[in-house]
C-alpha cells in the first residue's frame, strides 16, 4: 500500500490537528480488567479513564490497551506465545483474539459514549511478527485515521508469526513501535503502581519511587531488574521498560503513572506535574 495523500479538503480541515504530533497512551491490562478474575473488566476504571481522556481533549491521540484477565488465560492455556505446535492450539488462538475483541469493544464503546470518535484497530489484521517481534507494519491506515480526527484504539493481540506460526504481540511492544512510527510527542503508560520503583513495591515496602530517570540510568536499571527477575509471564515492569527503550532512544519522553488513581492520566495528558516516573530521552 502506498502512502496516499488525502484530498486537499481533508488536509485543510485537519491542519490544526496535524501540526501536533501524537500522544500515545497505554492503558495497562491490570487497570482496565480485574487481574485476578478471568474475563472481568474493571468498568469503573474504564469509565473514569475515558472521562479523563475526554476532559483533557488531547489530539491526535493513539490509545493502546493490554489484555489483563481477558487476554492472558487462553493465551497461557494454549501456549500461544510459544508458537504453533499442534492444530489443537488453533481454537486457543481464536479464543485469545476473541477475548481481546470483547475487552476492546468495551473500551471503544465507553469512548464513543463520551463522543470520542474512537475506532478499534485489530492488530492481528495488519501486523505479523517474527519470533514475537513486529516484522512488518504498515502505518498508513492509522496515519489516515489520525489525519481525519479519529482516535485509533489498538491492543495486544494473538498475531500470526512468520517463524513460529503465531505469537503474542504485547501492548507494550505496540506502544513503542507506534510511537516511533508516528514520531510521538509523548508516551503515557498507566500501570497499577505509582511508577518505577527501586524494587518491587508490592513485595518490598522500602521500595522507593523513581521520580525521574535518564535513558542511560534506565538501561542500567533494566539490566539490574533483568538479573534479579523472577518468573513473570506478562513481562511485568521489566518487559515494559525494555520495550520502551527504543522509543526513548528516538527522543520520545515517557511518563509512567498509576492509572488506578483519579486524575493522574488527566494531569499527564495536560502535561501537568503528576506523581509518577518521567523517563527523559
Amino acid at each position: 500500500m502506498n502512502r496516499i495523500i488525502f484530498r486537499k479538503q481533508f488536509i485543510e480541515e485537519v491542519a490544526a490537528i496535524n501540526l501536533q504530533k501524537s500522544v500515545v497512551v497505554k492503558l495497562g491490562g491490570s487497570i482496565v480488567t480485574v487481574k485476578e478474575k478471568p474475563y472481568t473488566p474493571n468498568r469503573r476504571a474504564v469509565t473514569r479513564l475515558v472521562e479523563e481522556i475526554k476532559r483533557a481533549d488531547v489530539k491526535p491521540l493513539i490509545i493502546i490497551h493490554g489484555g489483563g484477565s481477558f487476554g492472558h488465560p487462553f493465551a497461557k492455556e494454549y501456549n500461544i506465545a510459544g508458537g504453533y505446535n499442534n492444530s489443537g492450539q488453533l481454537i486457543g488462538f481464536s479464543k485469545t483474539h476473541q477475548a481481546m475483541v470483547a475487552l476492546n469493544r468495551l473500551i471503544v464503546s465507553a469512548l464513543i459514549q463520551r463522543d470520542i470518535p474512537a475506532i478499534a484497530v485489530q492488530s492481528s489484521a495488519f501486523i505479523v511478527t517474527k519470533r514475537g517481534r513486529i516484522l512488518d507494519f504498515n502505518d498508513d491506515l492509522i496515519q489516515r485515521m489520525l489525519d481525519m480526527g479519529l482516535t485509533p484504539v489498538l491492543y495486544g493481540d494473538a498475531v500470526l508469526d512468520m517463524e513460529q506460526g503465531f505469537s503474542i504481540l504485547s501492548g507494550d511492544q505496540l506502544v513503542a513501535t507506534l510511537a516511533i512510527s508516528f514520531e510521538a510527542r509523548r508516551i503515557i503508560i498507566c500501570v497499577d503502581v505509582d511508577g518505577l520503583y527501586t524494587d518491587d513495591p508490592k513485595l518490598n515496602p522500602d521500595a522507593k519511587l523513581i521520580r525521574e530517570i535518564s535513558l542511560d540510568e534506565l538501561k542500567a536499571f533494566a539490566g539490574k531488574i533483568r538479573k534479579s527477575i523472577v518468573t513473570d509471564v506478562t513481562g511485568g515492569m521489566y518487559g515494559k521498560i525494555a520495550e520502551l527503550i527504543p522509543a526513548v532512544e528516538k527522543g520520545i519522553g515517557v511518563k509512567i503513572i498509576n492509572g488506578k488513581r483519579a486524575n493522574r492520566l488527566y494531569k499527564a495528558l495536560m502535561n501537568q506535574n503528576v506523581k509518577g516516573t518521567e523517563i527523559r530521552p
Copy 2:
C-alpha cells in the same frame, strides 16, 4: 508486506487442506440479523447456520457476513457511504464500525463454541477503498490464516476511502474480491429468498425462481434489473449480482440459496442438489 513462506513443518501439516481451494460463504445481513429491528441479531439463525457449517466441515473456508440491522442504521444516519463531509460524521463512522464488531463477535463466538477455529478479521484494518471500491488489498494475512487451518470471518464495514475520506465496503464486494484473490472453488450466497427470481418475489407472487443462469444471461438480467430498480439503499439483489459478475468471469461458480431454510447451506457446502440459483461461469 512480502508474501512469506511458512516454515516447512506448517506446509507439511496443512498440505491436505492446501490442495483444496477455498469455499467462500456469505451470510447475508438479512439472515444473521432481524432486519426490521435495529441492532437485533437472529441468534437462532446464526446457531443453525454455524451447526450446518460444522457438519459440512469444508476446508479451507472463508466466511463473510453483511450488516443487516447492525450496520445500516448508523451508516444511514451519518451518511457514511457518501463520504466525509463534516467532522460530526466521525462519531458515526465509529458507531457503524462498532456495531459491525458487535455482530461479528456474536457470529465468531458461535463458531468458536462449535470448535471451529474462527478468527475475526477487521476489513477496515487492512482495506482502503477509492470511491467505495476496494483499492488495495493485501491477501497474505488471510492466506496464512487459511494455510494454518483457521477460518477467517470478515464483514462489510465502514472503511477509509482515499478519495472521499470514508465509505461503506459491502460484504458482497468483499466476497467477490476475496474469491478472485484466493481463486475460490465456489461461492455460496445465503439470502432471505430462495435465489434469483424473474421478478421481486416479495412483491410479485408470479415471480419465478431461476434455477440456473449462465454468465451472459446473468449480465443481461443484471441490466434488466438495473433499469426497473426502485430505491434500494443496501444494493439488494441487483447489488449482489453486479458484485459477483467479476468472480464468475474468473470461472468461479456461485450458488445463491435461502439461508432461512434449514439444511440448504449444508447441502450447498456438500455440493449436493439444493434449491437455489446456480450461476455457471
